[in-house]
């Protein structure tokens, strides 16, 4: 089997292209929320986790403090730690490979890897999507940042509406049944209730507290919210559940 005939490689590549392209929207929104070009690039190159990056600039553009922006980004990144455990159980990378694997451990690479059942396909799926998304996401972030700078006033072009759409787009694939929908509604309401009383940026931490408590005390539903935000029509399968024994056994 040649490299390109592998199903994992093909899925990984198509996810890379689809995800990489929307780096344009991150770049443009980041520029619109006041970050200079290299700050935008630092988020894509070093932080490299779409949801956390959007969270960071979303809190800032809402008037939140840099501390609140950082906290929101860090909390939203916790799921990557769980993905890291799954990938480590599947691929067990060593030395420098472990460092590289950790950096590209995101929704898309985890989905591509865990969707395969053959160990070498898992490896190909994870690395192709991880490296592919990293390269294209950064190229298109740069393009978006330049476009965003050229657009000027974000409101004029509806860029604030683009931010709304981006967050709904990240949330949407994770709402697959009534329970996650209920969690989303409860946290949204808690956020709005907090808005008049606490400094900008803090309502999101209130929502995080509420969500954390719900997650701690509820039973079952380990997979809720752990569905990666890949394009729905490219969805290669469901990622691992956090159970190492079954994470690799689910085909597409």
């Amino acid at each position: 089997m040649t490299f390109l005939q592998s199903a994992a490689v093909r899925v990984g590549l198509s996810i890379s292209v689809a995800t990489g392209l929307y780096g344009v929207s991150f770049g443009a929104l980041s520029a619109a929320s006041g970050l200079v070009f290299w700050q935008t690039m630092a988020l894509s190159l070093l932080l490299f986790s779409g949801g956390s990056q959007f969270a960071f600039i979303g809190v800032l553009s809402g008037g939140g403090s840099p501390l609140a922006a950082m906290s929101a980004a860090a909390l939203l990144g916790i799921r990557n730690g769980v993905y890291g455990m799954q990938i480590n159980a599947l691929l067990a990378p060593r030395g420098l490979l472990k460092i590289a694997a950790a950096h590209v451990t995101i929704d898309e690479s985890t989905a591509s890897g865990t969707a395969q059942s053959d160990p070498s396909e898992q490896r190909r799926g994870f690395w192709v999507a991880g490296i592919g998304v990293f390269l294209l996401w950064n190229v298109f972030t740069a393009v978006g940042a330049l476009i965003g700078d050229a657009l000027g006033d974000p409101k004029h072009w509806g860029l604030d509406g683009a931010a709304v759409a981006a967050f709904l787009g990240l949330l949407w694939p994770r709402i697959r049944s009534r329970q996650p929908a209920a969690i989303a509604v409860v946290c949204a309401v808690a956020t709005l209730l907090a808005v008049p009383f606490v400094p900008p940026g803090v309502p999101i931490l209130v929502a995080a507290l509420v969500a954390g408590l719900i997650g701690w005390f509820r039973r079952g539903h380990e997979r809720d919210g752990m569905e990666p935000d890949v394009e729905p029509h490219l969805h290669p399968g469901r990622p691992g559940t956090g159970d190492a024994a079954t994470a690799g056994s689910r085909g597409t």
Partner: protein, 103 residues
């Protein structure tokens, strides 16, 4: 620029979180609470970010053109549009509503 330390700190935290997953013993995987808290946090935070960007201005809950953007994006998502098209739909509805005079 005072934002730089926060960007670098956020990046360091993000990487540390990812790496931690590779360093904890496999036994921790068996704990479903870990996965549940992470998943619930993700849903809750994204829901909060969605409403904050849609309907909040400073200390006030407001209804403006961004509400239209939310509806436009929802329609695009319902018809399984790719992410980039969803974002463009949100921007287009907000811009169009402003053009028609709704702030």
């Amino acid at each position: 620029m005072s934002l730089w330390p926060w960007i670098l700190l956020a990046a360091a935290l993000a990487f540390a979180t990812k790496l931690l997953g590779y360093l904890v013993p496999a036994k921790v995987l068996a704990n479903p609470r870990m996965s549940r808290v992470a998943g619930t946090l993700t849903i809750g935070l994204l829901a909060a970010l969605t409403v904050l960007n849609t309907a909040v201005s400073g200390h006030h809950v407001v209804a403006d053109a961004r509400l239209g953007a939310l509806a436009g994006a929802a329609v695009a998502l319902y018809f399984k549009a790719p992410f980039l098209l969803v974002v463009v739909a949100g921007a287009a509805v907000a811009a169009a509503l402003r053009f028609l005079g709704w702030s």
